[in-house]
């Protein structure tokens, strides 16, 4: 099987202010394929938490619109995950 590729997949960072925003993230996780990096799972998302999650390129647009609509500030930590995966091997063979 060819290895999974993560071309142009993105990692978002969102600082959750309150319960309402936590529920917005949980709702997004129900309708999008979201891989939570921190915390480990959707259920752990809570107010006053910084949440990191990975989404596909396709879904990242709808995620960004939803966050913009709800005026939830966010960062894109990783813009192209596949690139970062390849870049982690940055030490030459001994």
């Amino acid at each position: 099987i060819a290895p999974v590729r993560f071309d142009r997949e993105k990692v978002f960072r969102v600082k959750i202010q309150d319960e309402k925003e936590a529920n917005i993230i949980k709702d997004l996780a129900k309708t999008n394929e979201i891989d939570f990096w921190y915390p480990d799972a959707m259920h752990h998302v809570a107010a006053q938490m910084t949440v990191d999650f990975r989404v596909s390129e396709k879904e990242s647009q709808s995620i960004q619109s939803a966050l913009d609509q709800n005026k939830m500030p966010y960062q894109i930590l990783i813009n192209d995950l596949q690139e970062e995966i390849e870049k982690q091997f940055d030490v030459k063979e001994d």
Binding site: D35, Y38, D40, H43, L77, Q88, V91
Partner: protein
Amino acid sequence: KPGRHSYRKYNSWDKIVAWTEKMVNKNPKMVSRIQIGSTVEDNPLYVLQIGKGGESRKAIFMDCGIHAREWVSPAFCQWFVYQAIKTYGRKKIMTKLLDRMNFYVLPVFNVDGYIWSWTQNRMWRKNRSKNQNSKCIGTDLNRNFNVSWNSFHNTGNPCQDIYRGPAPESEKETKAVTDFIRSHLKTIKAYITFHSYSQMLLFPYGYTTDKPPNHGDLDKVAKIGTDVLATRYETRYIYGPIASTIYPTSGSSLDWAYDLGIKHTFAFELRDKGKFGFLLPESRIKSTCRETMLAVKFIAKYILKHTS
């Protein structure tokens, strides 16, 4: 041949197996390899016993790689073994530790998942067991321990990344580790598990916000451990009980070991804080391992001095 192993790089499972053999062959008086079981896909689970003493000495059990994508964790266990051997007889603290204690080091806990993260899906977390009545693969080994195992409903879905498995210790990997620890309980005085990322040093409990009886002790050790870690490169770690520092978790190895009777159990969440997340570049492995070594040596010294 699996190619050359490097402590400054991420190593595939084949390289790590070859490395364990090399460690034993080159240091027969200091290192022995114990196969404690095998995985769902019949890969061996190897523990390296490091130390000069016999089986009856105090010991610390350390495991790495319980979550497949957390690659810097196995890198640290390899680094620890390397430093222990290299500095024995040269550095006072390590010499004293290894003369009086043993370290049981499980370099990769979730071997099948680690291989899968190398060959198929870099973002994989769980093991690779098949789940009945579900197309979804894998159990989160760090929710599969028999401690408050099913206290949270959200770990019961096989398609979730934090799926607890069909029963406590249902996974061969979990059972191999728990059987080994139970059979060495007389000597194992501390349990340390290594994860990534977010730069934290955690201790029980995860399944409740109640404090364990020796909370003050654990808190003090964790505080000093993070202070010592920061002396190298000023890397800031936070510390505290799992449940109140991150979030409540059930079925974790840390809580299980503590409730079994090992009253000093810690979990490191290694670098970084999120710029790279699970994709910490190899160029940062060395500094991550060097600073973590300081904290682990402090904890080991503390255990040597304060446990009976």
